[in-house]
Amino acid sequence: MSLNIKVQTKDQYVLLNIEGDVDLYSSPDVREALLKLTKKKTPTILVNLEKVPYMDSSGVATLIEGLQQCNKYQGRFSLVSLRDNVREVFELTRLDKIFEIHKDVNEALANGSV
């Protein structure tokens, strides 16, 4: 499944919509999209994983890089709409404690200063 990335700029946040498997070969595209946003010091980045059926550790590592860059300028970095199997990967690697994870965009907006 090829990867499709769309950036939606809203008033209070930027939504990064990812569609497709995020794996060893596609995660560099996610990285590039994320780093474009963090270079501009985008204050709030919400990464929508609703249409990501599979994510391997390279995808997780890429999101960690995004979070790390965002933290440098004290931006907000949230993951939303994770499928159960993708959420499990975060839980098993204890990364659910590091990331801000919400069930959807509305919950993310209701639970933080955006």
Binding site: L24, S57, S58, I64, T93
Partner: protein, 266 residues
Amino acid sequence: MPEPIIKIRDLHTSYGELKVLKGITLDVYADETLVILGRSGCGKSTLLRHLIGLQKPTKGEIYIKDVDIVRASEDGREEVMKKIGMLFQGAALFNSMSVGENVALPLVEHTPLESSTISIMTRMKLDLVGLAGFENFMPSQLSGGMKKRAAMARALAMDPDILFCDEPSAGLDPIVAVGIDHLILKLKKAFKMTIVVVTHELASVFLIADRIALLHEGEVIFLGTKEEMKNSKDPRICQFLERRPDEEIIDRDKHLSALVGEGYIS
């Protein structure tokens, strides 16, 4: 019944005149842990070498995810192997490289990932095997159990969906050995991997196996669950489970010839 992820069909291999594998037929299903059990020299490590493409059989077929890896082109075989992890018996770490460099090697060689991403992945894998913070250590600074864990982290580097382990607890003390077994259980649960373990350690078998294939003189003489194995009346299986030594049969004349050096050849 689901389609097997690995299919071995009528596999034969010889070392010169010595027949090592004599028609192995075996299926491995997705998400199961299959333990290949057998005495030293029964052909189990040879079978594993065939599964990872290090050795070609004299006859027979091996399909991994429907690719015939015996007859596939080098590129075709390499593509399949990228999603297979291998834990070698002696860990097989590169001593001139740090632990982190060892783990990162498959990612550096086979993926387009940036070094910053690879560094994070390397630390994640080391954390998973209980070696967080050891990335700058050299293999010579690690204990036997830690080397096995580092080798496991390297085997997991590419997020394999099939993991092969050759004697994972060989040469380790019982506590460290059971730690490796628990690590295998954890990985299976976490990543839903298909795991094939070659071993002769019974304690390990009964902890980690979903199914067991018992190899004896190059043939599969038993395939089933732990319970089925425990209930077997086959004398060869009973001998293995009861850890009874072979009966010593001495040919008087041959024995005498051997002692006095009169051209006795076994």
